[in-house]
Amino acid sequence: MAITYDLVKEVTANLYDWSLRRIPESSKAEFRKALATETEPQARQTLAFMLDSAERAETTGKFLCSDAGVPSYSIKIGSGARMEGDIRQAIVDGFAELTRTIQPPLLRFVTNPLTNERSFHGKDMPLVSWDLVGEGDYLDITCAPKALGGGRWAAVEILVSPSLDEIERCILEIVLRAGGQHCPPVVIGVGVGGTFDHAAKLSKDATLRPFGERNPEPMVADMEERLTRAVNQMGFGPMGVGGATTTFGVHIEYASGHGFTPVAVSFNCWINRRTRARIYNSGVVERIE
């Protein structure tokens, strides 16, 4: 058997729809932990309101946010996956059909950057990255649509032969510049090394890692813990109105590179939009998140 156009079209559209109506389970757990430790009254009230709204969206099927974001998919392809039909077109067609039928309707947010024309469609929409991984007989698809509030603060700086201190300062300065503008408490994804584009992709991938999973290398895991504490010491807090909960976690990925070292930082707003499923050659669809 094979992974078909029809199945990919249906699954990718569903992942997008689901991502609009619920936050990941691991996010909910982080909210509960933060409510147990946050001491600022307004911050506590904001956290409680966020959690309540997320639970309300989940039970009623309403949208979490009016900004449905730029649809974007990260797809990991097992070397044993067999595909049938135009799989890229399946994603485009699934998205197009969804924008016509979804209830409540989406606002127009896909923007042509040269003309500012807005529509439900556009060049390169949806945005898809494809990576070949391991020997699996599946496509592993994560949908993480990116809205304006969290999307606009991402940045890449290129340092030359930096020390670890300089890398960490660079990360914190990008975070400081964003302040509390990105709908905190956010996941902060960091990519270090490789090339300009690779570091940016690593930082995006890092935002998609579930809470509680640390980088497997102890030195990087330690960096994640120290930077998480450092960001929260800045004091921006939930929605940027003060408090100790600005980030639920700094997630870091790195790659070897050259003497020039890109440092990329991206932010995932508190609704931390992402859903994930695997489609196997057998036609079985496994919902992972």
Partner: protein, 212 residues
């Protein structure tokens, strides 16, 4: 604190009512406000104000929010409301001082705040900034009773001027008051001041790699 026990304010506020609010106050909103998320809309508003013309939806002394609105698009007037949600106000930093002064707004709002030039304009005219929780559409939408009017229908829905009737909208936080106090300025200044100490605390906890 439950939402139902919060103080309620009716929009539009008088300048005196706006000046009575303090940074950090948490309230629910009733009454009338006009909302949009459009950059073209706000540029057009600035042009109209600078030309001395009235806007098609009256905003003088009123409440103007950076908020996206989705509703049934009937032929002659807005229909059932689907959802609302704030957008980032700081995108409009360069336009808001003209709108705050020109329209003598008594309340504005959205998320992320406004820069010092707007804070100054707000202090001059008696205007507050309310922070709404972004991404909390499911709850915030329950505080919107109806979209009662809209103007500039040549624009896409969320870019139009949409007039809302609010009923217990919120909770919202007074993040910039009419006396020149801004949570955003205060927190950014404080974070910048803490940076040397934050960097020192990073270095002291681990030995770092040396250049080879």
């Amino acid at each position: 604190m439950t939402s139902s026990s919060l103080p309620r304010l009716t929009l539009p506020l008088t300048p005196a009512a706006a000046r009575a609010l303090k940074v950090g106050d948490v309230v629910l909103l009733d009454g009338d406000a006009v909302a949009t998320v459009g950059m073209p809309t706000q540029k057009r508003m600035v042009s109209e104000v600078e030309a001395g013309r009235e806007l098609p939806l009256s905003l003088r002394d009123g409440a103007f929010f950076h908020m996206g609105v989705s509703y049934e698009d009937a032929d002659d007037r807005p229909g059932t409301v689907h959802y609302v949600n704030p957008t980032t106000s700081s995108r409009f930093n360069h336009l808001m001082p003209t709108l705050i002064r020109g329209l003598r707004l008594t309340a504005t709002g959205g998320k992320g705040g406004l820069s010092q030039e707007s804070v100054d304009a707000m202090r001059d005219v008696g205007c507050v900034y309310f922070s709404f929780v972004g991404g909390a559409s499911a709850l915030l939408s329950e505080g919107v009773e109806a979209v009662t009017d809209c103007a500039w229908r040549d624009l896409i829905m969320q870019f139009r001027l949409n007039r809302l009737r609010l009923d217990g909208f919120g909770p919202v936080i007074v993040a910039i008051d009419a006396n020149g106090n801004s949570i955003y300025e205060r927190l950014m200044t404080s974070a910048r001041e803490r940076m040397p100490e934050i960097m020192r605390s990073l270095r002291s906890s681990e030995n770092k790699n040396e250049t080879i």
